[in-house]
Amino acid sequence: MQKIKLENINELLQSMAQIGKVYAPIEKAGQVNYYEWNKDAKLRLDVLNTVKSAKDVFFPQTEDLASFKTEGKEISIQAEKPLDEDFAVFGVRACDVKSFDILDKVFIEENTDEFYKARREHGVVISHACNEPEETCFCTTFGIDASAPKGDIETYTVGDTLYWLPVTDKGKEYSAKLGNILEEADESQVNKQKETIKAIMDKLPLKDVTTQAFGAGKTMEYFDRPEWKELSEACIGCGTCTYVCPTCQCYDIRDYDTGKSIERFRCWDSCMYSDFTMMAHGNPRKTQTERFRQRFMHKLVYFPDNNNGEFSCVGCGRCVAKCPISMNIVKVMKALGGK
């Protein structure tokens, strides 16, 4: 384990930026999201949940896939290249780190998405332990330990010091390139801190939320439950919950005419939107109730069905904090799961 005084963190980031781009929680216009760091950036390592999750770094909100040129009846297609340079994402909380595993199952395991895979291969994940888990956090429900996040490199803030622990080969290689900006440290401070954090986790209001009632093979058990109607009644279909969610995967593919060429891009989309499944002969999900049900059934039943029982939620609490009508996955689990 190594360490650096927080007052010198810009020097660390400076060295990291020399290895490759560094994405970190940075405040812009009063909101904290993952942006590329530069020396004028306002780093906010203290903020627990960024507005958009860290998935943006590997699965960006919009990205170009290909560019077309047309001339008369002829077309040329220029495919976008998958990323070919190393980068780091710094300050990722335990829940968001776990979300990368879930997205890997979607984008890498079958029919690999080359753009996503290239970013995953080139990206070093530097996590950061949560000192003060919030009221909306329920990562423990999914077996995630906020006091000891996974990642290529784990970091911890204790008092005025940042502790740094390379774990994977990728993390060790990355750290080796930093020279001697970090000094050696022992683990006692960090271990003490972990205990303190665990004590806080034990007192969180959502600590008893359980997924027990859900999981693989339960489609027919939950699909026609009458509760969906009431739960979804006030949902305005804004899609906020899907855009802030680290595990939501849905996307759209569209063309944009720049005047010089036609860019084919993909962008996040939401199953909460009415036109998501609209077809020539009608819409199989006619009301918001069906769209609402889709989001939660996918996370709690369909995804586990296809992924050995694993849920597509990491308990980050973003949807709990951000839904304008205060509806969320916790309320859904309680209403349907009877707890």
């Binding site: 896939l65 290909a66 077309f68 047309t70 009846k73 002829e74 077309i75 040329s76 297609i77 220029q78 495919a79 290249k81 998958p82 070919d84 979607v106 984008f107 079958e110 029919n111 690999t112 998405d113 080359e114 753009f115 290239a118 489609t219 027919m220 699909f223 026609d224 995967q249 849905c250 996307y251 759209d252 593919i253 569209r254 063309d255 005419d257 036609i262 084919r264 993909r266 989309d269 199953c271 998501f276 499944t277 609209m278 077809m279 020539a280 002969h281 199989p284 999900r285 069906e290 889709q294 996918h298 039943v301 369909y302 069905d305 296809n306």
Partner: protein, 281 residues
């Protein structure tokens, strides 16, 4: 610059192809012949599989490959005009280049469950598109299958897709019966009149066969009910589902229904498999 130096070309990137022939089948259906720009087909496929076709700036949509895999010279798509991309496709001329990617989806089990069996194809309107691929595959491998019956219906005589091929070529096949029907009486039509599910009941097929249904959802529903009434087991009946699609590879989420993604786990389903997914199609 070459894209292949680092990393593979992603599955979402279309290949280049050219339309070499356009046939007007009905007032709103045209059939397009497509080959790669090098004159060869862009990829192999199996009956029932689909491909994404692109016109840059207009969009991309999924279409059944209606030609049989035994046709290695070109691929065919029968496309009904009903929206932005299909309107645009209906206005292009021979020689137009397009983007194509695929093949997508689980095919009909032509080399396993269908082999050696009598086959009953039940189609409605543009739903004949995926069936035509299987029918021609079975005709080209005639010895591998038993008796073939095709029951096909549309609104009117003019709306019967592939009418020429059916009446000129299919009917000449060994052990092959074609049963056409149109919804309403029409001058110059002396064939059957009535909806497909009713005609199906009138034809009184025995259950010694596999049935394959493609068409509008409501037709599929009534035909399946009729077959069950006639004594068929759901494991003897196959159909295809159609949901909105964008990626074709089980990621964009659009075609997700229950734990299935119609683009990769379908579009072909055996009817007993439909009992495991919610009725959301």
């Amino acid at each position: 610059m070459c894209n292949c130096a680092n990393g593979n070309i992603d599955k979402l990137i279309p290949q280049l192809a050219v339309i070499t022939d356009i046939r007007t089948d009905t007032p709103d259906v045209k059939t397009f012949r497509v080959v790669g720009v090098d004159g060869k087909i862009n990829f192999d496929h199996k009956p029932g599989q689909c491909a994404m076709l692109t016109l840059p700036g207009i969009g991309e949509a999924m279409f059944s490959i209606t030609s049989s895999p035994t046709n290695t010279e070109y691929k065919e798509f029968s496309i009904k005009r009903c929206g932005t991309l299909t309107d645009a496709l209906h206005s292009v001329e021979v020689g137009q280049q397009i983007g194509i990617r695929g093949p997508y989806g689980k095919p009909f089990p032509v080399d396993t469950e269908f082999k050696g069996k009598n086959l009953l194809f039940i189609g409605g309107g543009i739903g004949i598109a995926p069936l035509r691929s299987v029918i021609n595959y079975a005709r080209d491998n005639r010895d591998d299958y038993g008796k073939i019956d095709v029951l096909y219906g549309s609104r009117s005589k003019e709306d019967l897709v592939d009418y020429e091929e059916m009446t000129n070529e299919w009917v000449k096949s060994r052990d092959f019966d074609l049963h056409l029907t149109i919804d309403r009486e029409q001058e110059g039509w002396d064939g059957h009149v009535g909806f497909v599910p009713n005609y199906l009941k009138e034809l009184k097929f025995d259950t010694n066969r596999i049935a394959i249904i493609c068409g509008p959802p409501i037709m599929i529903k009534f035909c399946l009910a009729a077959l069950i009434e006639m004594g068929f087991d759901k494991t003897q009946v196959y159909t295809t589902l159609e949901l909105k699609m964008k990626c074709g590879i089980g990621k964009c989420g659009r075609c997700n229904i229950g734990s299935k993604y119609v683009c990769k786990d379908g579009p072909v389903f055996r009817c007993d498999e439909l009992d495991e997914i919610p009725n959301e199609y």
